[in-house]
């Protein structure tokens, strides 16, 4: 077995990589790298190598010592309780032992009587399977199944480790009869590297896609906030104009009164009230400033596009839903409604919006007319009808994320040419 000692060392290092991957799944807070950590890792590596070389030691003792050493590594690398660390390392070895048993039994089916075979190929294959299993475990643990790339890509990725098993098996069979151990060593090393690289690449690409998604959502949020800021500015200018105008109107009325001309003064006041010249057109005056400004801002767009809008808001002026979430939810839903009605003829465009606080929950209902056809996406919500569907179409997903923050409910019910979205939120 000494011919394979180089391979053994590499296998031990691969075990270390596996262990590190495992520990990182749980995302505990990391401690600063200290000398103790280095010690623990060295002890662990030494133990592994020794366990590999000598087959005489009591397996149970080896197992317990392994669990303990992993526990110590965990404790020295992360902020963990002893119990948690012990539990994690126990689980690690439980999974690994199960995998080794399965691999061993599978290899037995091949009825090869070479014990070195079992040792080398078996341990390599089981390490590889462990590596795979950890990746799957991590996906499940982080609930990333629907965010990463679809199953089809995963299947293609699996071809790599599966082919690796076949190649390792055959390479061993071919080279064991000769003295050429270097060949097997290098082949195995390369294959392990290829596997590691493939999975690493897959992970990084998945992360990148996730970051891009988040960025799009942030951009949208920024956009809405900017619009809101513009609206605030306009509102302030309006206040100044109103103050200026009121002085003018009052002065005007005062002149009439001083001249003793009561009927003229009354006419002027009637005129003012009738034309309501003091306020700009507002569709929503609930007193809740954020919602009012959001809806009124959109209303200017709505009006311009010839959409009839009906708005009923019945909420206290302060609710414990964050304004950024309100921005995302109301902004996106209104945008979707506006876009949908655009595709209809002028007379048939309408939006009904209602926001109220009922039974301690915030209920938002928005209805709009639509053309009746919806495209379905493979995952997530509908396909966007906008010209660049892969770039657009994250509106409803953003809304869902905000709704989930409050343990809420998002219901979409298209029916009878009326598209209705209902959002229920439970203020914290």
């Amino acid at each position: 077995m000494n011919e394979y000692s180089l391979l053994n060392i590499l296998m031990v290092l691969f075990s270390a990589v596996i262990l590190k991957t495992y520990l990182e799944i749980f995302k505990y807070k990391k401690k600063k790298k200290s000398f103790a950590t280095l010690c623990m890792w060295s002890i662990y590596l030494a133990l592994q190598y020794w366990a590999m070389i000598t087959n005489a030691a009591n397996p149970l003792v080896v197992l317990l010592v392994n669990i303990l050493s992993v526990c110590l590594i965990g404790k020295s690398m992360y902020y963990l309780e002893w119990v948690n660390s012990l539990f994690i390392s126990g689980t690690f070895y439980a999974i690994w032992m199960m995998i080794e048993i399965v691999v061993n039994n599978l290899l037995h089916i091949l009825s090869i009587n070479d014990s070195t075979y079992f040792f080398l190929v078996g341990s390599t294959v089981s390490k590889l399977v462990m590596f795979l299993a950890l990746h799957i475990f991590r996906k499940i643990y982080n609930n990333h199944f629907h965010f990463s790339m679809p199953l089809a890509y995963w299947v293609r990725l699996m071809l790599i480790p599966l082919s690796t098993f076949y190649i390792i098996h055959n390479t061993y069979i071919l080279t064991s009869k000769t003295d050429n151990t270097i060949f097997f060593t290098i082949t195995t090393m390369l294959l392990i590297t290829v596997n590691y690289a493939a999975f690493d690449l897959y992970d990084k690409l998945g992360e990148k896609a996730e970051i891009e998604r988040k960025n799009l959502a942030y951009e949208q949020q920024l956009d809405l906030c900017n619009k809101q800021a513009a609206e605030c500015e306009l509102a302030y200018q309006e206040t100044r104009r109103v103050r200026h105008d009121i002085n003018k109107y009052l002065f005007d009325i005062q002149t009439s009164l001083l001249a003793g001309n009561l009927s003229e003064a009354k006419n002027k006041i009637d005129n003012l009230l009738e034309h309501n010249q003091i306020y700009r057109k507002e569709i929503c005056r609930s007193g809740n400033l954020i919602i009012d400004s959001l809806i009124n801002n959109k209303y200017s767009v709505v009006e311009k596009m010839g959409i009839k809008m009906n708005c009923n808001v019945f909420l206290p002026d302060q609710i414990s839903i964050e304004s950024s979430d309100l921005c995302i939810i109301i902004g996106n839903l209104l945008d979707n409604a506006i876009d949908a009605t655009q595709q209809l003829p002028q007379g048939n465009r309408y939006i009904n919006l209602s926001i109220s606080l009922v039974k301690s929950s915030v209920l938002l209902t928005i209805q709009n007319s639509y053309s009746g056809t919806l495209k379905n996406k493979k995952e997530g919500f509908f396909q966007s009808t906008k010209p660049n569907p892969s770039y657009h179409g994250i509106g409803l997903t953003s809304v869902k994320k905000s709704v989930d923050k409050y343990d809420g409910e998002l219901l979409i019910t298209p029916e009878n040419n009326v598209f209705q979205v209902t959002v229920l939120l439970y203020p914290k």
Binding site: S354, L363, Q367, E409, E415, T422
Partner: protein, 253 residues
């Protein structure tokens, strides 16, 4: 015949409202009876002596006892009364919502909004004029559904909780009958009554729910009832649908 109370210290407003109601009632052939009050105290007094109003128009800013406080007192014993607040406030106070008002009308009163509100209220009232009949000990009982907060089934007996019964009351003081919960549920659903089966043993009146979470329902008197795990999603959706069917302005489909 619907009993309506109008409570406002401004005589012009009360007469405007009374007139509008009569106009609508005539047009729609609805039988109404309007009582006018000029302060909250007299309204509370009348109600505590047994008169039940299906609909109350309440002004918020009154002199002696303001509208919201009056409503709170009335709500203690009358969950199903529809309260419509009238006010000239530009914003809604948080206390307002504790009384679960039906709608809000701002002064000056817009006649279309008023008509819409009235008709929605009427529709709601019609839905609720139902009774729960059952026999017990050879007597036939008829209990208005609006008084029932929830049904509880325990040891094959169906207990009927009303607003005046607290949860730790003795079994022998609650009304009971031997109907099966599933049958009662079917009967109520068929009559479009809003009762939610949150648990094998509990059938709750939607009107009496103050708030709801994934795992439990809190009633207006503070009683907390568990929602069984397999019904959680269904109850959520049902609650959502019931809430949204109350929304104003929405086209009902």
């Amino acid at each position: 015949m619907i009993n309506i109370a109008i409570c406002d210290d401004d005589k012009t407003i009360t007469s405007v409202i009374e007139n509008m109601i009569n106009v609508i009632a005539d047009a729609q052939q609805i039988n109404v009876n309007c009582d006018v009050f000029f302060d909250g105290a007299s309204l509370i007094d009348y109600i505590s002596h047994g008169t039940f109003y299906e609909l109350i128009y309440m002004d918020i800013e009154m002199d002696r006892i303001d509208g919201i406080h009056a409503a709170e007192i009335i709500r203690k014993n009358n969950i199903s009364t529809l309260i419509v607040y009238i006010s000239s406030y530009e914003k809604y106070l948080k206390d307002l919502f504790k009384t679960e008002p039906f709608r809000y009308i701002s002064k000056p009163i817009d006649s279309k909004q008023f008509t819409d509100t009235f008709l929605s209220a009427y529709k709601r009232i019609c839905q609720k004029a139902e009774y729960f009949t059952f026999t017990y000990n050879k007597y036939l009982y008829k209990m208005p559904l609006r008084l029932i907060s929830y049904f509880e089934s325990r040891n094959r007996v169906l207990y009927i909780h009303t607003i005046n019964s607290s949860s730790d009351q003795q079994e022998n003081t609650l009304q009971k009958c031997y109907k099966k919960m599933n049958d009662v549920e079917k009967e109520l659903v068929a009559a479009n009554q809003r009762f939610i089966r949150i648990h094998q043993s509990y059938l709750v009146n939607y009107e009496y729910i103050r708030s709801i979470s994934f795992t439990a329902v809190t009633l207006v008197d503070g009683t907390k009832l568990q929602i069984s795990a397999d019904r959680q999603k269904r109850v959520r959706l049902l609650f959502c649908n019931m809430l949204s069917s109350d929304s104003p302005n929405m086209q009902q489909r």
